[in-house]
């Protein structure tokens, strides 16, 4: 994104100041929400063909021209942009409608966090209560366990899930057999394409206590059945392992690409110096992909407050409640199941804000370290 915006930097910066400078754009005054009116001055040089570009075919400009009240058509600024590019704006109308309805309207609904929502009164007429809802949440007995679980599950995911793709990619890189490598990759990528419902269903077929495959084998060899998914601590381990399993193959793609761009001369030099394959792996490959590793690590740190509702819901059951209530689950339970919209909205907002702060902080950190960052 960054590189591409640089090419259009002039246009971009003009618009950037346009939002603040309310000087309007002369007579035409195009007060369209799609095109913020900017100071007319700096915009002009950007337009390739000058006012009412003679190179433009008459078509688009025609119907828009009479709008300007200033008699003989002299379109400037926003009006000119609209006249010239009305088809582009037309293309954007429906998408922006979707964006407004399904992305930004819900953000407006966040005011519920500061209100005592009564269905009879509606969102706007419900009473403002300041931060009372947040106070109620923070002192709620379910809040801290949910916060703990969210962080715990994500930290465990990071701890065990993060190194796995790196190890796999290093291993796959050492494989010389084309056939073996591509078959492994096909198999390893597969779990990424399956829904959590299917993975959950398969997990119960494999790890279930009464009829799961593993327990059948354990029992057949004389052991006792293990409640892999039906006891809290075991569930936690299974949850993390299944997550690692689901994501490990897919995670290798980026590392394999990074490895493939390592300069082959480095390996040759290392071979001349007598380094074996293991030594090359640690002294050449790993250092060369370390910036990829750091970037991805930082990105993952930014997701510590996230978490997949679908994954937990597909793997939980009634016997394990200790670790399964994370913040998204609690939002669902309070809000959609319990109809306490204010409290659930505030809890969701709490999570979103912390998550956003984490993402911004990790982006900042990545850029400080000279990486691309993610924004």
């Amino acid at each position: 994104m960054a590189t591409e915006q640089k090419t259009a930097g002039a246009a971009g910066s003009a618009e950037g100041s346009g939002a603040a400078g309310g000087r309007g754009s002369g007579s035409a005054g195009g007060a369209s929400p799609a095109a913020p009116t900017g100071p007319a001055g700096p915009v002009q040089p950007v337009q390739p063909a000058g006012p009412l570009g003679p190179a433009q075919p008459a078509g688009p400009a025609g119907p828009m021209a009479p709008i300007g009240p200033g008699g003989p058509v002299r379109l400037r600024g926003a009006a000119l942009a609209i006249a010239r590019d009305w088809q582009l704006y037309a293309l954007l109308v429906i998408p922006m409608l979707f964006l407004a309805l399904f992305k930004f309207a819900p953000m407006g609904g966040l005011v519920l966090s500061f209100k005592d929502y009564k269905i009879a009164k509606g969102i706007w007429n419900s009473d403002w209560v300041g931060f009372d809802v947040f106070r109620a949440i923070f002192s709620h007995r379910e809040f801290f366990p949910a916060l703990r679980n969210t962080l715990l599950l994500n930290v465990l995911d990071l701890l065990f899930g993060f190194p796995m793709p790196i190890l796999l990619a290093l291993g796959l890189n050492e494989v010389r057999s084309r056939w073996f490598k591509s078959t492994s990759q096909t198999l390893l990528y597969l779990p990424h394409f399956l829904s959590w419902v299917i993975i959950g269903a398969i997990a119960y077929q494999i790890f279930g206590q009464s009829s799961g495959l593993i327990n059948n084998l354990i029992e057949a060899s004389g052991g006792a059945r293990v409640p892999f998914l039906q006891e809290d601590a075991h569930w936690l381990v299974s949850y993390v392992l299944i997550g690692v399993w689901q994501a490990m193959g897919w995670g290798t793609i980026i590392y394999l690409a990074a490895i493939s761009s390592v300069n082959p001369e480095l390996y040759e030099a290392a071979t001349v110096d007598g380094a074996g394959r293991l030594r090359q792996c640690f002294s050449v490959t790993l250092p060369c992909i370390s910036s990829t590793i750091v970037t991805l690590l930082i990105m993952n740190l930014g997701r510590l407050m996230g978490g997949s509702f679908e994954r937990i819901y597909a793997l939980q059951n009634k016997a394990t409640t200790e670790f399964t209530t994370t913040i998204p689950v609690l939002v669902y339970r309070w809000g959609i199941q319990g109809n306490n919209f204010s409290r659930a909205t505030a809890l969701g907002l709490f999570q979103s804000v912390i998550a956003l702060i984490l993402v911004l902080a990790s982006d900042y950190a990545a850029k400080r370290m000279g990486e691309e960052g993610l924004l």
Binding site: P106, G109, L172, Y189, L190, Q205, F309, G335, S352
Partner: protein
């Protein structure tokens, strides 16, 4: 590429590496083989826990029951319909937005791009979205599974970059000299030239829609006939892991295990069918997304 001394030590290390990788790869395959074997076995063998990787007493009885179950077929129909409409709508929105916002001369493009990208990092959250859906009267309709997620900022970004880097501006300029408007340029230049990325993103949309069940769980509660396959499976197999009978399945259950297994396979087959074709595109697009900068 590089030559190594084939000492016994390195041969052994090589062997261990292949063994480990094969073992890890097989963990991605064997669970399916097991479930498939179960789904094809006779009840008695499954109850006796004797089915491991090969079916015992081969039978298609469980699949016969599924195919006779009107509610499962109904869910399959809902899933297909929702996925198709969702993908078409999603691609329409993505292409329109990506083309318009990839034009350097568009005023306000930076602000609008920011609006799109902002949704990637901050959302209203589950409850406000639920309230909006409720206010629009979309709860308990298939549109609840089609409209809200149809604009994906991530896919938009990929599409925009593909257009910006893949289609030279000079091509657009010469088309405009010939009197073509943006609609015309989009339809007869940009879309035909972007077929590969359009195919990739369509698959993104379709697979994502097919696999998701969270929004269906939230928005479709009473209308049992509007449950997509994944949600149906959730109620049938996952939630009922301990008590299958809670769900009033129309098929007569002799042993839920075999039926559960065949449900899993039934819902996985569509993905497995397209997997060989989509895999390559997905891998490429991960790279496109990764080097978005």
């Amino acid at each position: 590429m590089h030559k190594y001394k084939r000492s016994p030590g390195s041969l052994a290390a090589n062997g261990i590496l292949y063994l480990l990788l094969a073992a890890v790869s097989l963990t991605c395959l064997l669970p399916f083989v097991h479930v498939l074997a179960k789904s094809l076995s006779q009840d008695a063998y499954v109850i006796a826990n004797r089915v491991i990787l090969l079916p015992k007493g081969l039978t298609l009885a469980a699949y016969g029951k599924i195919l006779k179950d009107a509610s499962i077929l109904r869910s399959l129909y809902v899933s297909v319909l929702v996925t198709v409409l969702f993908t078409l709508l999603g691609m329409f929105l993505t292409i329109c937005t990506a083309y318009a916002l990839s034009r350097p001369q568009l005023r306000g493009r930076r602000a609008l791009t920011f609006l799109c990208m902002f949704t990637l990092y901050f959302t209203g959250g589950i409850i406000p979205e639920y309230i909006v859906m409720s206010g629009l009267g979309l709860l308990e309709t298939i549109w609840a599974m089609i409209l809200p997620l149809s604009f994906s900022a991530y896919n938009f970004l990929i599409m925009k970059n593909a257009i910006a880097s893949g289609i030279p501006l000079s091509l657009e300029e010469s088309a405009r000299m010939d009197g073509a408007g943006h609609f015309r340029i989009l339809a007869s230049i940009v879309v035909p030239l972007s077929k590969p990325i359009i195919a990739t993103l369509s698959l993104f949309y379709a697979v994502g829609r097919w696999n998701a069940y969270q929004d269906a769980l939230f928005y479709i509660k009473q209308r049992v006939d509007l449950r997509p396959l994944q949600l149906k499976l959730y109620y049938l197999v996952v939630q009922a892991s301990e008590s299958f009978q809670l769900e009033q399945v129309q098929v007569n259950l002799t042993n839920p295990e075999v039926l559960k297994a065949s449900c899993v396979i039934f819902a996985t087959v569509p993905i497995l069918l397209v997997y060989p074709f989509v895999q390559k595109y997905f891998v490429e697009s991960v790279m496109v997304g990764a080097v978005k900068g």
